[in-house]
């Protein structure tokens, strides 16, 4: 049930954006052990005037930076999160070829009773 919102500059081809979904799904499968077909992801494309990035923390980002906000259960360990960042950067680097400087990830945590994945039920409460 991770819910993933991705923000990037507009203009990348469809295959590029599909590869982002594929690589993130695979990273979540491997690092977070999410179940098969646990894919709940959106991409929002922004014009230059609606997207801003900086170089804080000694990381030299370009217009290809991708903001990835992932909401998950509040049960993940720090080791799992570290594995997620590493694997996401590796896989996104391979396909669609995003430089590791441009992979920005933030995890939000939400308790098990905070999810309804269909049918009006709290499946995990």
């Amino acid at each position: 049930m991770p819910l993933v919102h991705i923000s990037l500059r507009a203009g990348k081809p469809e295959a590029y954006r599909q590869a982002i979904f594929d690589s993130l799904y695979r990273a979540m499968r491997e690092a977070l052990s999410v179940p098969e077909d646990d894919q709940f992801m959106t991409i929002t494309e922004h014009d230059g005037a609606n997207f801003r990035h900086g170089n804080a923390y000694g990381v030299y980002r370009s217009d290809d930076v991708v903001y990835i906000q992932i909401t998950v259960f509040d049960t993940r360990t720090t080791e799992q999160k570290k594995a997620l960042y590493k694997r996401a950067a590796e896989l996104l680097g391979r396909n669609p070829g995003i430089r590791p400087e441009n992979v920005f990830v933030n995890v939000l945590e939400s308790a098990k009773e905070n999810w309804s994945v269909g049918h009006g039920l709290a499946q995990f409460a």
Copy 2:
């Protein structure tokens, strides 16, 4: 003060999207007892290439799936949340007619001091 961000596939008529707002507002009024006219909601429409859903957890979703992320105070009980999911699925099922499999809700919690609903003030701190 719930802040509600809704994501769905592009192409639904305006009346459909208005009904989503109306049904969610009513569900929040009934299940969370939010005050009158507490409506702070956005919809983002996504092309197919920017929207992905899976069938994890035994729920067979279609392209009509709607991701609803609701940020609220961190004061709600599990019972209130369960009532919200149930009522949202019922009302969205009635109008605009979304199948219960396609109603995906995630609640984010944010402390009272984390809100400013105008005037630069922390009204609830």
Copy 3:
């Protein structure tokens, strides 16, 4: 590393939207002491049918309302947050000229290990 998502009605000129970024960045520099060039912000513009606001809490908002959702470390004090709301409303009021009734801010908190600002690393864990 605040990650800032801003939602507003479509149709404002580019200079207006740039001023929102500039004023929020400055407010975060002053109130939260974020480092130089710590700018990770997106704007999403919504048609009228995809954007709803109410007048709850005795605040009379117009179509110019701006929803600002800021994700930060879970280390900020209530005083820092209050300073942020105040300064954001002041600076947005000056440029681009948003009335204080229309500045709606929500802060989400995310632990230090929940951030990777590039290179697949958990820089703050």
